[in-house]
């Protein structure tokens, strides 16, 4: 009988692997294209971060209905995620926005600490998106989470020094954001390395455009980044984080509209589709908003990872 040859690649590079939290969780470490066990027999499984916000204004009701009262308290919300198999907590300190509650860096840091203490899980922490406020908030968060290695998000080309310094001060990792372009992603990692951030402490976010809103661009940028990293480009060999929760920005995700079926299930598939595209193109970690999507994605990773 004809014997089909296994088209195994000889990759010259691998993604860095780094311990998070108290060391029990490892991020990165892929040695081949996603989930191909013939390229890497003991492939590491991507990590899942469950999203928690500290200000519920404008947050989708489908998610809030599921978490109920626990959504009022970030620590309780994070514990629910732990029960559902999340590896990390993605904490967004939206309340620090001057247009929201304008909470202080100290208040925000206390929230981050409460989440870490309650769950023992590593965190990826975002501020409100205003560079100056975020820098102050991340400085406080870095100290509050000292000894509990987390990811501070995020730094960009024109504002990275303060948050990178805050991360380095307490051995946290930093999330390098770039806008849908392999060269910008690499440039960002070089910038951070030159600034003194160790490669093991860089995690990148090349911007995962959600399903129906440019997903194809991200799918290809991610694939190109992953291929370049495996082919030996050291400055792209850092773990990739993709934010699947952006699926909820798309109108068709959760809108209740005639002919489009049940919005609760549809929103789960919208986020799942975004997540699966991210996983197949090289994501080492995902940020997930929906509880039903979390179960689906967890199931897919277990199946693809060979556990099923």
């Amino acid at each position: 009988m004809a014997k089909v040859p296994l088209p195994k690649e000889k990759w010259s590079g691998a993604i860095t692997s780094t311990a998070m939290g108290d060391g029990g969780v490892r991020l990165g470490g892929a040695k081949g294209m996603p989930f191909l066990s013939f390229e890497d027999p003991d492939l590491p499984l991507p990590l899942l971060a469950g999203e928690v916000v500290d200000d519920l204004e404008d947050f989708p009701s489908i998610v809030l209905d599921f978490f109920g009262e626990d959504a009022e308290d970030p620590a309780s919300w994070a514990q629910r995620w732990r029960g559902m198999g999340a590896d990390l907590v993605c904490l967004r300190l939206l309340s620090t926005d001057p247009d929201r509650r304008d909470s202080s860096p100290e208040e925000a840091a206390a929230v981050a600490k409460s989440v870490a203490d309650a769950t023992g899980m590593p965190l990826i922490v975002y501020g409100c998106g205003l560079p100056e406020k975020d820098a102050a908030v991340m400085e406080a968060v870095s100290g509050a989470l000292a000894g509990h290695r987390s990811i501070l998000a995020y730094v960009e080309e024109d504002s990275y020094k303060k948050i990178s310094s805050a991360a380095m001060a307490n051995k946290h990792a930093v999330l390098a954001f770039s806008n849908l372009d392999i060269n910008l992603a690499k440039q960002m990692n070089i910038l951070l390395s030159d600034f003194g951030v160790q490669r093991e402490d860089i995690v990148m976010d090349p911007l995962m455009a959600p399903l129906g809103m440019g997903l194809e661009y991200s799918y290809s940028v991610n694939e190109r980044i992953t291929l370049a990293a495996l082919n030996g480009d050291r400055m792209l060999q850092v773990p990739m984080v993709c934010d699947a929760s952006q699926a909820w920005q798309v109108r068709d995700c959760a809108e209740d509209e005639e002919g489009m079926g049940d919005p609760v299930e549809r929103s789960a598939w919208w986020e799942f589709g975004t997540a699966l595209a991210a996983l197949l193109s090289g994501a080492d970690m995902l940020i997930v908003r929906g509880p039903y999507a979390m179960q689906l994605i967890r199931g897919a990773i277990e199946d693809l990872g060979g556990g099923a």
Partner: protein
């Protein structure tokens, strides 16, 4: 593709000129450039033709299923990653229709699937095929069901039955509609392939192992069946990913001949079915067959297919028009942006988030983003004014016109051209909700 020298080897080298080219070498070079056909030379023997045609075969054979309006093309893929060129023929989605249903119910079920259609960014998404399943075990019922479906729509059919004799009456009856026969396996490959060859129909082969499949392909071709679709099994996502990847990769790299055909997956239904369908869509599946599919599943799935099969070299463009967002009225602000889809989607999503009613004018910039279009002189005040004129936007609202912050420079000239107050919006679309709230309209 053979080179000119490879072609030259098989030519008579007499430079007789009967092919219309001055020399054999000149002819060979035209052949290599695909500007001439081997048939033009009367002296090339059949053996040579076959050898050359085989090395000329596309790495993944193109197969047509169905006929006329609804016919589908599968295969013909040339790359492993879409950024290398593009994925060519989008994954087709089929749903199963069991032949045990009474005629009226069968038509009703088919009708409900035909009605499941969505419009997104100016494109219509719907199901592509019906898979008529011989649940009754009665070949005549399969035929009746197939004829009934062919009578009500132009969607191609797949006929699912246990063996050639179960499929024959239906296949003969709707032969003109070019159904896909499913499936030949190691037990029935000879009669199934013979039936497909006799009727000239495409045939699906089913084997869960790559080696077994390679053997089936050989056996089917021996019977004369050439239009093949391969079902490598759908036991798990892992199996689909690895089997489809290996089959596609060895075919594209030409390290193994015999698996260069469109791939298909039967995914069942429910959560597992959807997960496998999304995977197959991204990883080389040409056809996905469901037991059933709900609208809340179909819309995200078909959106994924549209995304993945977009040509990376052609930016998706949104039609130049005036788009109402959040139900605007006659004093709502009038924003404008480019027709590059990513820009449009982002701006639109940010406006939606603000919940403030806005008129959004899309200006045709040939798919360029704001700054690029401005630099390329495709997004100047005159282009904006012309677009607003064409859509009668200024008659729809007396509200202020808002330029993207990136092109603040044009605001003065635009104000002159329009005779309407022009405000400068934020640099980043993400700041639009705040900007719009502060407008206080």
């Amino acid at each position: 593709m053979p080179t000119a020298i490879e072609y030259f080897k098989f030519l008579p080298k007499t430079n007789c000129g009967e092919c219309g080219h001055p020399t054999c070498l000149a002819f060979a070079m035209q052949l290599a450039n695909q500007k001439a056909s081997l048939d033009e030379c009367p002296y090339v023997d059949e053996e040579a033709k076959r050898t050359l045609q085989e090395s000329n075969a596309p790495p993944v054979k193109g197969v047509t299923v169905g006929a006329g309006d609804g016919s589908l093309r599968m295969g013909e893929e040339t790359v492993l990653y879409r950024h290398e060129r593009r994925f060519v023929n989008p994954t087709a989605y089929a749903v199963a229709i069991p032949d045990i249903l009474p005629e009226a119910e069968l038509r009703e079920l088919a009708r409900s699937y035909l009605d499941m259609s969505f419009e997104r960014v100016g494109m219509v998404f719907d199901l592509d095929m019906f898979a008529v399943f011989n649940a009754s075990g009665d070949a005549e019922r399969l035929r009746a069901a197939a004829e009934s479906l062919v009578g009500m729509c132009s969607k191609p059919l797949m006929l699912i039955g246990a063996g050639a004799e179960d499929l024959r009456p239906a296949a003969e009856a709707i032969r003109e509609s070019r159904p896909l026969l499913y499936a030949a396996d190691e037990d029935n490959v000879s009669p199934m392939a013979a039936l497909a060859a006799e009727l000239g129909l495409p045939l699906a082969l089913r084997d869960g192992t790559l080696d077994g499949m390679a053997g089936l392909v050989e056996a089917a071709r021996k019977e004369g069946a050439e239009d093949l679709v391969l079902d490598l099994g759908s036991d798990s996502m892992k199996h689909i990913l690895e089997s489809n990847t290996v089959a596609r990769k060895v075919s594209l790299r030409r390290s193994f001949k015999g698996l260069g055909y469109p791939l298909m997956n039967l995914v069942g239904s429910g959560e597992e079915g959807m997960m496998m369908a999304m995977l197959s869509t991204m990883k080389y599946g040409s056809l996905v067959v469901f037991d059933s599919l709900e609208p809340q599943q179909a819309l995200p799935l078909m959106t994924l297919r549209q995304n993945i099969y977009t040509d990376p070299q052609v930016p998706i463009q949104v039609k130049e028009d005036l788009y109402p967002v959040n139900g605007p009225g006659e004093d709502s602000p009038l924003l404008f942006t480019t027709n590059f889809s990513l820009t449009y989607f982002t701006v639109r999503a940010d406006i939606e988030k603000s919940r403030i009613p806005v008129w959004l004018q899309v200006v045709d910039t040939e798919g360029l983003s704001v700054l690029t279009a401005y630099a390329a002189n495709k997004f100047g005040h005159e282009h904006v004014a012309a677009a607003l004129e064409a859509s009668s936007a200024l008659e729809r609202t007396s509200g202020p016109v808002v330029t993207p912050g990136m092109v603040a420079k044009m605001s003065g000239k635009l104000e002159e051209a329009l005779g309407r107050k022009v405000l400068v919006g934020p640099m980043e679309s993400g700041s639009l909700p705040k900007f719009l709230k502060n407008l206080g309209v």
